[in-house]
């Protein structure tokens, strides 16, 4: 029996309006890889931030190797032997590997010694890395090695890895796993956060599954199928869809074999995405973030142009049309990022109303802006969608997330779209506002518009979708009627490659 290294008892952390962690207890044993599983928003991040001293819990306690452990800041956590590799690297591109590592250390040794130690560690653990290379030239996997080696140089007892494989190529994943297995043999405890189930089955001996801030299950991933784990993540509380499928009007939006590489570094390319939505229908697209949702939205909004026939609106190819042209034709979008993408944070709500309302609301004549018209439009959005703000002249950044989201969604809905595409419409929005947004989307569909909702929130999708499909690594599953879908089937669709094509190599 292995010794318990980190014991967590009754950790609770509440943020205004959200319970991030509620009475979380589990043990991480020395010499093992422990998986922390859960959907986005399940409370994994808060939990590991608590362990790393970035977040202070409201209640509960931790012990590290038998000693009480309550780090006030990351430095204290590191001193106690807890190291963490973040999902997003904090490295300086212009500096060399060794310089970057020195910057992250308490009292770094002289540069020459450090370089030698880096070479030593990288050889010992099979992580090829030249200390003198400039970080800017490294691949994502190599950058991650810099972070890992930075941790290992401080001889930690517990290594926390937050979604380490999301940016890696399959070969790099192999290298990483070999290293992690080796560290485990040396007695290190590893807390491994991921939602890639097959990876966890291949690597971990224990798994703790979080849902809505609570521990809902623990299991041995080696003895549990990916499907079972997906079900545990999604939970038994998932409501079975109740919406009657719509009578099936004419096809409004048709996407055929949409393939496009992501405009962003580390983005997910779309691979042959195909679906169609009819008038009066709500299509829900689920999936874990980073599986091509943003790219799909860019391709639909017109910010990313694709081959003409890949996107058809009412039968007409619009793949090469620009955003304002698509708006004029009746295809409106609301991106996920409210601040800076769907709206300009420093501009007033009047200006933000003009941002997309220009064409369909006739807010410009001969290029001259009708600010009076834009103000009317902004006031209408504020009134109809209950946006809490002192007035339309307020800057968008002054609004709370939920209010700005209501404004953004309301702005598009009030333009009477024929097709509306929304990405994460209720992300970070309080329950009342989320319900209002969902109802508005349903009303829009009831009035004959086609609605595509991209979301990670399965409960939400089950509540409002007529049909449901899932994005996984840039591929979209076939859409199925939401009514009658079982939790097991949803888990399978979400798992995509994991469930149905286990042979698919990562």
């Amino acid at each position: 029996m292995k010794d318990v290294l980190l014991a967590i008892r009754g950790l609770t952390k509440t943020y205004p309006g959200v319970v991030a962690n509620s009475d979380v207890s589990f043990d991480v044993k020395a010499g093992s890889v422990h998986a922390l599983l859960g959907e986005n928003g399940a409370g994994k991040s808060t939990l590991v931030k608590t362990i790393y001293g970035l977040v202070r819990p409201d209640a509960g306690s931790m012990t590290l190797a038998g000693q009480p452990y309550a780090p006030a800041e990351p430095r204290a956590a590191r001193a106690a032997g807890v190291a963490m590799v973040f999902q997003h690297f904090s490295l300086f591109d212009a500096l060399s590997v060794a310089e970057n590592i020195a910057l992250g250390m308490e009292g770094p040794p002289p540069m020459r010694d450090l370089a030698a130690r880096i070479t030593q560690v990288s050889r010992d653990y099979g992580l090829p890395l030249d200390p003198h290379r400039t970080v800017g030239d490294l691949s994502a996997g190599e950058r991650q090695r810099v972070e890992i080696i930075r941790c290992l140089l401080q001889s930690p007892r517990l290594l926390i890895m937050d979604e380490p494989t999301s940016v890696l190529t399959p070969q790099e994943v192999e290298i990483l796993f070999r290293t992690l297995r080796r560290l485990r043999e040396e007695g290190l405890a590893i807390l491994y956060i991921s939602h890639k189930l097959e990876e966890i089955r291949a690597l971990c001996e224990e798994a703790t599954i979080l849902r809505l801030g609570k521990v809902v299950a623990t299991c041995d991933p080696r003895a549990t199928s990916a499907r079972q784990m997906a079900e545990m993540m999604v939970g038994g509380t998932l409501r079975i869809p109740t919406r009657a499928p719509s009578p099936g009007g004419e096809t409004a939006l048709e996407v055929q074999g949409l393939s496009a590489s992501s405009p962003r570094l580390h983005g997910t390319s779309l691979k042959g995405v195909t679906f169609s939505v009819s008038k009066g229908e709500v299509l829900g697209i689920g999936g874990v973030a980073g599986n091509g949702q943003d790219e799909l939205l860019l391709a639909l909004s017109g910010e990313m142009r694709v081959a003409p026939g890949m996107v058809r609106l009412k039968g007409e190819p619009i793949g090469r049309c620009r955003p304002s042209d698509r708006r004029a034709r009746g295809l409106l979008c609301a991106p996920e990022e409210r601040n800076g993408h769907a709206s300009a944070p420093d501009m007033s709500l009047i200006e933000n109303a003009f941002l997309t309302g220009k064409v369909r609301e006739g807010l410009a004549r001969n290029g001259f802006v009708s600010w009076a018209g834009a103000r009317d439009f902004a006031e209408r959005i504020i009134k109809d969608f209950d946006v809490r703000t002192p007035g339309p002249q307020v800057a968008a950044r002054a609004l709370s997330g939920g209010n700005l989201q209501k404004f953004v969604i309301g702005r598009e809905i009030l333009q009477r779209p024929e097709v509306l595409v929304v990405n994460q419409p209720t992300w970070g929005v309080d329950a009342a506002a989320a319900a209002a947004i969902r109802q508005a989307l349903l009303d829009l569909a009831a009035n004959g518009a086609a609605v595509v909702v991209v979301s990670q929130d399965l409960d939400e999708l089950m509540e409002i979708s007529d049909r449901f499909a899932a994005l996984n690594e840039g591929r979209l599953s076939a859409a199925r009627p939401a009514r009658g879908l079982t939790v097991e089937e949803i888990g399978l669709m979400l798992g995509g490659a994991h469930g149905m094509e286990v042979a698919h190599v990562h």
């Binding site: 992250g104 955003p323 304002s324 420093d346 941002l355 220009k358 290029g367």
Partner: protein, 350 residues
């Protein structure tokens, strides 16, 4: 101002006299009747060029080569005029203005199209084209545009003395010429464009939130071309007014750095048309005052330039400090959270 005073004191001059000479004498001193018109003559091109530049700067498009566009505007405008010399048609001057605008526009299109097509850096290309333009200027002054009656001296015919092409002082004793009128008109037009036109809105949007601009449907390539073209055309017009008025002729040393100073003016004016108007006047004042201080107090030219530099430095530093808060940390070891100034929510970026 205090630092400037210290500088002058360090040079052994009375700081109060020096500062009065720079800021007061040009307007109200003994030779004010001569220096006052100079104020508008110098401020005119600065304001005109800076107004054009401000659009690109707001949108994050950095045209650093206004100096070259200014020179090219002067050359093409003068060339068109000289081609029909000595005709006396009234159409010649307007035609030259259009040619000047086109010259500056075309010169700005080189970096703009290279950026759109090949993704080159407009800062470098436009800056390098300044040096090409100054060599073109020398070639024009010594070659095709040289005054055939000039006894071999470099330089063209005097355009300000040929009535068809002259850009005279419109109201005697004010320095007001067509270029100054155009500059004021440009300020008003820019104000309207920024406040009421969707082009101005797109420019502001692209500068403040590039992703929101893409989402709104702003075409980034078209924006680059429009902003570069606008600033180039205005710089070209400024050059044409200068060559037909205060300068009088195409000469080797025709350009005096208005195109570069205008960048400073644009930022001093915080890229706002009215601000640019005031900043242009202030900059012109320090130029003239600096000249007076040179001749009357014997201050070295370098000291004046340093004073102007300090003026700009402190104004911009103030701007930065209003927007950002410096945080000092005891130990600069923790990487992600040191040295980087934290944006304070109180400072609105405007």
């Amino acid at each position: 101002m205090v630092a400037g005073g210290l500088l002058f004191a360090a040079l052994g001059k009375d700081p109060f006299v020096a500062i009065r000479t720079i800021f007061w004498d040009p307007l109200f001193g003994d030779f004010a009747s001569y220096t006052r018109p100079q104020l508008l003559i110098k401020a005119g091109p600065l304001i005109l060029i800076a107004t054009g530049l401000s659009f690109g700067f707001r949108a994050g498009i950095w045209n650093i080569g206004a100096e070259g566009q200014y020179v090219l505007g002067a050359i093409t405008g003068a060339a068109v005029g000289l081609a029909v010399y000595p005709s006396e048609s009234r159409l010649i001057f307007p035609l030259m203005v259009v040619a000047g605008a086109l010259g500056g526009f075309a010169w700005a299109m080189i970096p703009a199209l290279l950026k759109v097509r090949f993704g080159t850096n407009e800062i470098l290309v436009s800056l390098m084209l300044v040096y090409v333009a100054t060599n073109l200027l020398a070639w024009a002054a010594l070659g095709p545009l040289q005054n055939p009656e000039g006894r071999g001296f470099p330089g063209s015919r005097n355009l300000s003395q040929w009535s068809a092409s002259a850009n005279p002082e419109l109201i005697a004793g004010t320095g007001m010429h067509w270029g100054v009128v155009t500059a004021f008109a440009a300020v008003i037009a820019a104000y309207v464009l920024l406040a009421r036109h969707s082009f101005g809105f797109n420019v502001r949007l692209a500068g403040q939130a590039p992703r929101a601009a893409a989402f709104a449907g702003v075409n980034p390539s078209r924006l680059v071309v429009a902003c570069m073209g606008l600033s180039g055309a205005l710089a070209g017009v400024a050059g044409l007014f200068e060559v037909t008025g205060p300068a009088g002729q195409i000469s080797i040393d025709f350009n005096v750095g208005y195109g570069f100073t205008a960048i400073i003016v644009a930022f001093l004016g915080r890229l706002h048309p009215i601000g640019i108007l005031l900043a242009g006047l202030l900059m012109a004042l320090t130029y003239i005052g600096g000249e007076i201080a040179q001749t009357q107090l014997g201050l070295p030219a370098a000291a004046i330039q340093m004073f102007q530099g300090m003026l700009l430095f402190f104004l911009l530093a103030m701007d930065l400090l209003v927007q950002f808060r410096l945080r000092w940390k005891a130990r600069a070891i923790e990487v992600p959270r040191t040295v980087i100034p934290q944006a304070s929510p109180a400072g609105e970026a405007r």
